[in-house]
């Protein structure tokens, strides 16, 4: 499942003008269905190594759907159907031979709603480490992850308490700590800051910027400022209602500055200026 230089190069060649260190994940999405409902169509999203790719767009345009297709989270939904290709270091993760469990070990996820496990704070963070058979200093890694997620000071005296006893915002940071504890190669974050106060939000944003030194991050956000602050690349999704249904698609993707300041599409311009929904 690890980097194959030849295939990485091949994957990169299909991406539109990759800059930086190459493309870690390349999502060539053709159609995504929930049952008969076409949720997203024709979107090509290369995720570059050591970059933060921001996904923006109106509610219901399929940002979460696309994000969750990147680590096969949507496989849990029986009605879900993915047509297209998502390559990770050149390997198609939707290949029949690929076990989604393995995909999710390398591609971690932070969800839109906090979802800590019904176990102690410590065990929550140590969960992934134990799952992966980590043999080193568990305490150290748990502290590091909690530090990284900006909640160490709040929880360090009650690591034995249940993760569910925390406030909503604390729970979300606990979930971030849980996701980064195993240091996955790619981190998918679905509006990780929507339940956080501005201080914690800033801390998590700093964390993302720190993390991208080593990892690759995809971030869904409704906060334009956040996208501008942290995203290197921004993907704007829109909703196509011309077929009588609401189907999301990628309108435009490019360097964040360009998408926000001189977008190519009229739709993007209207959205980033707040001229619609």
């Amino acid at each position: 499942m690890h980097a194959n230089p030849k295939m990485t190069a091949a994957g990169a060649s299909t991406a539109p003008a990759p800059v930086g260190n190459g493309v870690v994940m390349d999502c060539q999405l053709q159609k995504v269905f929930y049952g008969d409902f076409l949720a997203v169509r024709d979107s090509s999203l290369p995720l570059e190594k050591n970059k933060i790719t921001g996904f923006i767009g109106p509610s219901g345009c399929g940002k979460s759907t696309v994000l969750r297709s990147l680590n096969r989270m949507n496989d849990l939904i029986p009605a879900f159907r993915f047509e297209g290709k998502v390559t990770y270091h050149g390997q198609d993760i939707y290949d029949k031979k690929v076990d989604p469990v393995v995909v999710r070990r390398y591609i971690g996820m932070v969800f839109q709603q906090p979802n800590p496990f019904a176990m102690s704070i410590y065990d929550n963070v140590a969960f992934g480490l134990r799952l992966n058979g980590f043999k080193g200093n568990l305490d150290e890694r748990v502290e590091k992850a909690l530090q990284g997620a900006a909640c160490w000071n709040e929880v360090k005296d009650k690591l034995k308490n249940s993760g569910l006893s925390l406030s909503g915002g604390q729970q979300q940071r606990l979930c971030i700590a849980r996701a980064i504890a195993t240091e996955p190669d790619v981190l998918l974050m679905d509006e990780p800051c929507s339940a956080l106060d501005p201080i914690a939000t800033r801390r998590v944003e700093e964390l993302m910027v720190e993390l991208k030194e080593n990892y690759t991050i995809a971030l869904v956000t409704h906060n334009m400022q956040q996208a501008m602050r942290v995203a290197d690349t921004t993907a704007f999704f829109g909703v196509d209602i011309s077929q009588g249904s609401r189907t999301g698609y990628l309108v435009e993707m490019g360097p964040t500055k360009k998408v926000f300041e001189e977008p190519e599409q009229q739709l993007t311009r209207e959205y980033v200026r707040g001229e619609f929904s």
């Binding site: 308490n161 249940s162 195993t182």
Partner: protein, 325 residues
């Protein structure tokens, strides 16, 4: 009243207003009914304990605690002891809990963790709940005519090959602990399974997502996340199942052999408190009835203790896994 000052602040075109006096009356009415029901249960339990205790009093003063630790039940000699029955009650119920609990939880996992299409799972759930509707006499008859003949060759083979192991130290000649415990296990299965199913179904979808999102396999998700999350509910299921096993009467009276002996052997006949009560009451005279009342009190005490311990364990699990709220 606070609502008066709110009334004055109200904009004239606003729809908001205080609950009407009828609403308040209804509210108070419901509260009164709820309190009355709760109190009634307490009174009922207290009444039963007192009534049985009162009837048992002569026996208690006559036999003392020795009643609980001796093994003879001799009506002629007026010597009574219920140690074998206490042993048989606990032993058969623990075996049933072990079997029924394990299978019940396994079935609950099977029915809730996407092993079956939702519709089929619903059908299975109904079938298991139907098991609970089978009268206990039917289970007893089934045990006598089907289970015991099936069990006997297996049991006797085990006794021949591994007779040295205390559990197999006797052969099975007819009724005995093993058929009784097996039937008991089947009888508590629906209780354990359906309450565990409820506990597992209550787990929010986002928890499952979180587990799979960490890269767990299905079994890792079930064992490391789903079961701990449902722990307090599953423990409740086990406590209720155990309580049911302790008090089950008819099927046991038919299957356990009503023999007052203490043996580890699974194939030896034994007796339980409930079976003793059921089989001795109809023909009991004055003296024996007093002793039986004492035995009933002992059964009641065991049940209450088991429930209290179960509650404490559940509370501990809730505190450990869930928030203290």
């Amino acid at each position: 009243m606070a609502s008066v000052s709110f009334e004055q602040l109200k904009r004239s075109d606003s729809v908001s207003g205080p609950p009407s006096s009828g609403d308040y009356t209804l509210d108070r009415g419901f509260r009164a009914v709820a309190w009355a029901s709760a109190a009634l249960i307490l009174v009922l339990v207290a009444y039963i304990v007192l009534e049985i205790g009162g009837k048992a009093m002569p026996a208690i003063s006559q036999y003392g605690l020795g009643f609980l630790t001796t093994t003879e039940w001799n009506v002629q000699a007026e010597r009574f002891g219920i140690l074998p029955q206490i042993w048989g009650t606990l032993y058969s119920s623990l075996l049933a809990l072990l079997l029924g609990g394990l299978f019940g939880i396994a079935i609950a996992i099977f029915l809730t963790q996407d092993f079956l299409p939702p519709r089929l799972a619903a059908v299975f759930r109904t079938i298991i709940e139907l098991l609970a509707a089978i009268p206990s006499v039917v289970f007893g008859l089934w045990g006598i005519y089907v289970l015991i003949p099936l069990l006997r060759p297996v049991a006797n083979w085990l006794h021949d090959v591994a007779g040295g192991i205390p559990f197999f130290s006797t052969s099975l000649s007819g009724p005995g602990l093993a058929p009784a415990a097996l039937v008991l296990a089947i009888m508590i299965l629906p209780t354990v399974a359906s309450i565990s199913v409820d506990a597992l179904r209550q787990i929010p979808y986002k928890v499952k997502e979180a587990a799979y999102g960490m890269g767990t396999t299905r079994w890792e998700a079930i064992l490391k996340v789903m079961l701990p999350t449902a722990a307090s509910g599953i423990l409740a299921a086990l406590v209720l199942g155990f309580g049911r096993a302790l008090g089950e009467t008819m099927a046991l009276a038919m299957l356990i052999g009503n023999s007052n002996q203490i043996s580890l052997s699974l194939f030896a006949p034994a007796n339980t408190l409930a079976a003793l009560l059921a089989s001795s009451f109809p023909e009991a005279g004055q003296v024996e009835i007093r002793a039986l009342m004492y035995a009933a009190l002992a059964l009641l005490a065991i049940t209450l203790i088991v429930n209290a311990v179960g509650l404490a364990v559940m509370k501990f699990a809730t505190r450990k896994f869930e928030a203290e709220r």
